[in-house]
Amino acid sequence: MSGAVSGQSAAIEVRAVEKRFGNVSIIRDLNLSVAQGERHAIIGPNGAGKSTTFNLISGHIKPTSGEVKLNGEVISGLRPFEINRRGLSRSFQVTNVFARMSVWENVRCAVLWATGHRYAFWKNVDSLPEVRERTAKILDDIHLMHRRDVPAGLLTYAEQRELEIGITIASGATVVMLDEPTAGMSNAETERAVALIRRLTEGKTLVIVEHDMSVVFGLADRISVLVYGHIIASGTPEEIRRDPKVKEAYLGEEAH
């Protein structure tokens, strides 16, 4: 494991990360490696620290100790927007959109930085062709084009979840992290959302938190099992299925 071979470093590398809130350790000695182009699922019981792990990687909160790397570059300690600009985008477990803005504006805002328009105050946002095309494409992808002028806060729950995914992938980030994208959806909606995720993350690195085991085992190349803030197993779906520790700690007690 010597020098950094660029292009071959892992998409995400979490090394010995610990997170304490007060004197409670929520994340302990977390090690996680996600290869380029891999679809990686994180599973674990409620309160295991899955969302906290997302927050640590995406810069929402800072690790108490340890290190996070994105494509070989240390990102722990950076602000969320700095990490986002380096090509990592995440969604939220609890829908987190721009409620008073239209669906179109929501997605367009997520396109602006990546297309290089930044804080521009001398350009008309409506006459930027690449922004318009990209926004339209995303809206088509997430099946919300017919709702483009509706304020995001007035969408149905399932629509908001789809918009959440749309905002996350709009920047074209190469590393996409989705926190329970299908939570609260019906079976049919889940199926649709999974097909969507599969298609939209083609050729990208995906980290997904998901409770639905059929989704996890159908989608993921590798799975990590998080229990009490610690990864107890990491491997292919087959390896995870067979792992006795996992059976005992998690899969055994999952009824569905």
Binding site: C109, L112, N124, V125
Partner: protein, 424 residues
């Protein structure tokens, strides 16, 4: 499910420019119709108030920043303009008066650049409190730093001493009005254009959800800072216009009352639409000019209006108007109008009762006769008290019934509009 139309009707662009051209035409024609000195002064003040309120809405409506100290930029713009005018005269610089508001803007902008980075680190209560503190700080400093602010008396200037432009001396109020109208149009277009830039849209995103903005690549702090600088600039322009209009800048420009007034105008007009603050500024300036001559307790009425808007129409006048748009489109507005008409009489009666009560209390200890709708009421007479009570109680009870009918008619109309796909 509802289906909102995705393609914009072809007439939209035309209508859009039509509204702006109509506004400009109105500004040109107004002083020809109402040419008395009093109306010219009112129009000038309204023009200044509109620029100021629009600048405030860059913060409140577009970026979600509640400032209690926006007049600081207005005032510093005023002082900058006064000093500039005096310097132009003293050094015989070839800068005519119409360029002076630009220096007012720079005054507001420079202060925003200096103070803004620290102020906009956080939004919400923290920002509101700091803005209050800065406002007090600057207002009190203005009385201490006499060389810059001229102490109690302020800094005076003579706008006619500057080089002429197109042969205009800007002595007559009419010429000053047109100067203000020119800057009003310029500023309004610029501020409207700002809302349609990447920065303008991201400001809206920061307003709605500053946390999420960070995860689409933006630093909300930078966004707030830039918005703050723009707001400071245009407030400075408004202050510069005021300095030209009054030929003076003093500490009252910078103070809490001025800051409160702009918040008040913007909120009453409605922050969610670009034209909201324009309506608010017109109404509040008119009320201010009109009420002060009618009653000594005009601030009380301001307070009642403000509370009424906050409670019953948080979207302000603009919000109230725009609520009707889906109904107009769906063609169901006419089903609501009759209930409005029915409500007018009892509501006016209630309002008269409230006014009579307030004025009776205010003038009880030897005030003048209350003149309401051409009828004279003596504050000390029991007839007046009984009239007030009857109007308040009777008007109030009937008004409540009619309001309920409005709500019902409204619900029916909205349901139809929703079914026809004009309401999400």
């Amino acid at each position: 499910m509802t289906l909102t139309s995705t393609s914009k009707p072809a007439g939209d662009g035309l209508r859009f420019y039509g509204v702006w051209l109509l506004g400009i035409a109105a500004l040109i024609v107004l002083p020809m119709i109402f040419s008395s000195g009093g109306s010219l002064t009112s129009f000038s003040l309204i023009g200044i108030a509109i620029v100021f309120a629009l600048s405030y809405n860059i913060l409140l409506g577009q970026t979600g920043l509640l400032s209690f100290g926006h007049a600081v930029h207005y005032g510093l713009g005023g002082f900058a303009a006064c000093h500039m005018m005096n310097a132009v005269v003293a050094h015989k610089w070839p800068i005519p008066l119409p360029f002076i508001p630009l220096f007012g803007g720079l005054g507001g902008l420079v202060f925003a650049i200096v103070i803004g980075w620290v102020m906009t680190k956080r939004a919400g209560t923290v920002f509101a409190m700091i803005s209050l503190g800065i406002g007090e700080l600057v207002a009190s400093s203005s009385l201490i730093l006499r060389s810059v602010f001229g102490g109690e008396a302020g800094i005076t200037t003579d706008r006619t001493a500057l080089p002429k432009m197109f042969g205009w001396s800007f002595g007559p109020q009419l010429q000053v009005y047109y100067l203000i109208a020119f800057w009003l149009v310029l500023s309004a277009i610029a501020m409207y254009a700002l809302t349609r830039t990447p920065l303008g849209r991201i400001s809206n995103a920061v307003r709605d959800n500053p946390e999420r903005v960070q995860f689409i690549g933006y630093d909300p702090h930078v966004v707030r800072y830039l918005a703050f600088c723009f707001a400071g600039f245009f407030a400075g322009v408004a202050g510069g216009l005021a300095a030209i209009n009054f030929e003076i800048a003093n500490s009252a420009y910078l103070g809490a009352i001025q800051s409160g007034l702009v918040l008040f105008s913007t909120f009453i007009g409605g922050t969610a639409y670009f034209f909201g603050p324009i309506l608010g500024a017109i109404l509040v300036t008119y009320l201010q000019l009109g009420l002060t001559s009618l009653t000594s307790v005009w601030q009380l009425y301001f307070g009642i209006i403000f509370i009424g808007i906050v409670m019953f129409s948080p979207g302000g006048i603009a919000g109230l108007l725009m609520m009707h748009r889906p109904l107009v489109r769906a063609g169901t507005l006419r089903t609501v109008i009759p209930s409005y008409l029915v409500a007018v009489v009892p509501t006016v009666a209630l309002a008269c009762g409230v006014i009579l009560t307030i004025e009776t209390v205010a003038r009880f200890a030897g005030g003048d006769v209350i003149n309401l709708l051409g009828i004279g009421f003596k504050p000390a007479s029991p007839t007046t008290w009984i009239s007030a009570a009857v109007l308040v109680v009777g008007g109030g009870l009937i008004a409540r019934l009619t309001w309920r009918r409005i709500a019902e008619a409204w619900d029916r109309a909205a349901t139809v509009a929703r079914d026809r796909g004009y309401l999400a």
